[in-house]
Symmetry: C2
Subunit: 81 residues, 2 copies
């Protein structure tokens, strides 16, 4: 069994209003050294070993987990017992 | 200047209906080897160097970015130019 950690971020240049809201809140809390915030998603997918996991995860990201038009994704696969 | 990558996950035992929905969708797409999905958040915070960044990030997570009652967080600080 493997655990896949998937990181999904907005592509550079795509506006991130949620990130801006977080940044404004951090400024309101007087963290004045915050220069930028971008918000993305993080998923942990537990997979039973079956076929080519790399290819499966790529396909899952393209078809469901990420929106390839505006988002980039990366992932790490690690073995779990 | 440093970039902080913050990973926020639900604590073990906290129900994750969003993760279950993603899992069901993956099953509907015939990825039958998906055993579990947990959805979290991922943020990239760009910080100007000023004081103890580690302490600042811990405080930001506790006060705003994560909900310490139901979420865990971890982060990585890396230098950027």
């Amino acid at each position: 069994m493997h655990k896949v950690k998937v990181y999904i971020t907005l592509k550079e240049g795509v506006l991130d209003p949620q990130g801006k809201a977080v940044q404004n809140s951090l400024h309101a809390l007087e963290y004045d050294n915050v220069a930028d915030v971008r918000v993305g998603k993080y998923m942990e997918v537990l997979l039973n070993d079956e076929g080519n996991l790399d290819a499966q995860v790529d396909e899952m990201c393209d078809r469901l987990l990420a929106n390839p038009v505006i988002e980039d994704y990366s992932y790490m696969i690690e073995e779990v017992s």
